[in-house]
């Protein structure tokens, strides 16, 4: 009694089937739906009935008055976030690594990881409150030094800075985990040898600790290239207002307003599609670089 291989493995296919169907609908469905970027889409006529208009939506998109400003904002904010999001966690991980008391170190870690787990709704609410020009604690504090209240979230100059700093504040603690893991992997014998050779702690950091984590730094820096067009929708959507569109409007928020507020479905999809294509090129490029320079493979 030998059943055929296919029949014997049927349970394995059945286990995958529900996930397969859901992914087919909710991931591949929208990918197929990208055709509406080339249509004059209307809800009534649907995807199959709407007329094709070629590249019209893309032409129109590049003629939008704010489009280049939005691209500049997106790249500007994203690049600042990437740079600060690399530098701060490395520094903090190095400092944490120098702590001698393990209990103290664990306490600090526990506290600085916390903001990562709160949503931008909660943190947005917190930021709006503490940055408020009337009774917010930050302006109260600045008032001690005679600084007049600043409307941080309503000022074109301040907005990008607030976005970058608050993002670093939320994520820096959690980002140290990877570096701390790399630091824990450094061979202790290297430090012992360095001590015998007369190296002090600064020299040890410079010649053993830093070179020990350079590979992971290079890897994460390369991989973050894929995020150059991701300035953080969740955060900006909850902090911005029309007053700061000039410096705070990004591609993702523009897509949201065009598509879901103004119901210009085809145009919004076209903008999103261009962003995805550029992102995929950047991601593939960064994975290729990571593979070349850090010998990293995802799969």
């Amino acid at each position: 009694m030998f059943k055929s291989k296919l029949l014997r493995q049927l349970p394995l296919h059945l286990m995958i089937a529900p996930s397969f169907i859901l992914v087919l609908i909710f991931s591949y469905g929208p990918i197929a739906g990208l055709v509406i970027a080339f249509q004059k889409f209307s809800i009534v006529k649907g995807m199959f009935g709407s007329p094709f208009v070629g590249w019209d939506n893309f032409d129109y998109m590049f003629k939008l008055p704010d489009i280049w400003q939005v691209v500049r904002n997106t790249v500007g904010i994203a690049v600042m976030k990437i740079a600060a999001g690399l530098a701060v966690p490395i520094l903090v991980a190095l400092l944490l690594n120098e702590l001698r008391k393990q209990v103290f170190k664990r306490w600090i870690q526990t506290i600085i990881y916390l903001p990562h787990f709160l949503s931008w709704i909660i943190l947005g609410g917190v930021l709006i409150d503490i940055l408020s020009p009337t009774a917010g604690i930050v302006n109260q504090f600045l008032g001690i030094f005679g600084i007049k209240p600043i409307f941080f979230l309503g000022s074109v100059q301040w907005f990008p800075g607030v976005v970058v700093i608050s993002d670093v504040w939320k994520e820096f603690g959690f980002s140290t985990i990877v570096y701390l893991a790399a630091l824990a992997g450094i061979n202790p014998a290297l430090y012992e040898a360095a001590v015998i050779d007369g190296a002090n702690r600064w020299k040890q950091t410079l010649h053993i600790t830093l070179p020990g984590i350079v590979p992971i730094i290079v890897l994460l820096a390369t991989l973050s290239l894929g995020n150059v067009l991701n300035a953080g929708f969740d955060q900006i959507f909850n902090l911005y207002s029309p007053v700061v569109y000039e410096s705070g409007d990004i591609i993702d928020t523009l897509v949201y307003r065009l598509g879901l507020e103004q119901a210009q479905y085809s145009l919004a999809t076209a903008v999103g599609l261009i962003k995805s294509v550029v992102s995929i090129v950047l991601i593939s490029g960064s994975y290729y670089l990571a593979y070349r320079f850090a010998n990293y493979r995802i799969f």
Binding site: I112, P115, V126, I137
Partner: protein, 293 residues
Amino acid sequence: MNITSLSGRIFNIGNSIFLLLLAFLCLFPLINILAVSLSSSTAASAGEVSLWPVDFTWQSYHFVMQKPEFLKSLGISVERVLLGTTLNMLLTIMLAYPLSKESSAFKGRLFYVWFFVLTMLVSGGLIPWYLVIQKLHLLGTIGALILPGAVNVFNAVLLLNFYRGLPRELEEAAFVDGAGYWKILWSIYVPLSMPAIATLILFSMVGHWNSWFDGLILMNSPDKYPLQSYMQTVVINRDLSLVSMADANSLGDISDRTLKSAQIFLAALPIICVYPFLQRFFIKGVVVGSVKE
């Protein structure tokens, strides 16, 4: 052996103080919000509150806990977390098992792997995603909140790596004893993977609790919003139609600001409560996902 130079000791002290300050900076905004929520409206609007409540009062919490909109959205959030996490875990457990097999032992594995992994790289974007859900008539139903994100490929990859770490002899012995794939998955793999599954359960719960955007755009009317989407409208967007009359004519010791602070703190509270458990697990999970040897 423990000879520390003077400069070394100064560095140690300075470093400890700096890191303490940093940790304080992470907690301070939350403590401030908590203090404001427990203060009287006059103290809050005068900006007198920093770390400790001024004119301590529970009024804001009393008010929020009686607010029907808040309680309703809280109920929807709880429903979503329970249903969504259950579905997530069932699918992840079943998806990871076949994919953890060697390609030679499971015909078709390679096709499935590419099918799922590709979705991590390519997506249709916001508008087509919205239109698909609309087309399926899911708008305004709980299905819109749990079905589109039900399959988490990243979690499945984490779990399949854990499955692979289990000794294969167990499965072979079970086969000899006449067990099938289903039996092996539920009686051997799942019990043995409980540490990994517990981690994923916590991640999934936190993810569902924190989601707000899907609720905002998919639920049609505010009375179906989960808590975080509801918060988006009252705390952040200040949609006046949702601020009930009682909010506007705040009485006695409560004001718009103390009420908002109380709601923010209540929405963060479940995360703070599961955090100690989460924290024990997640370091492992993150490191497995991000660093490969």
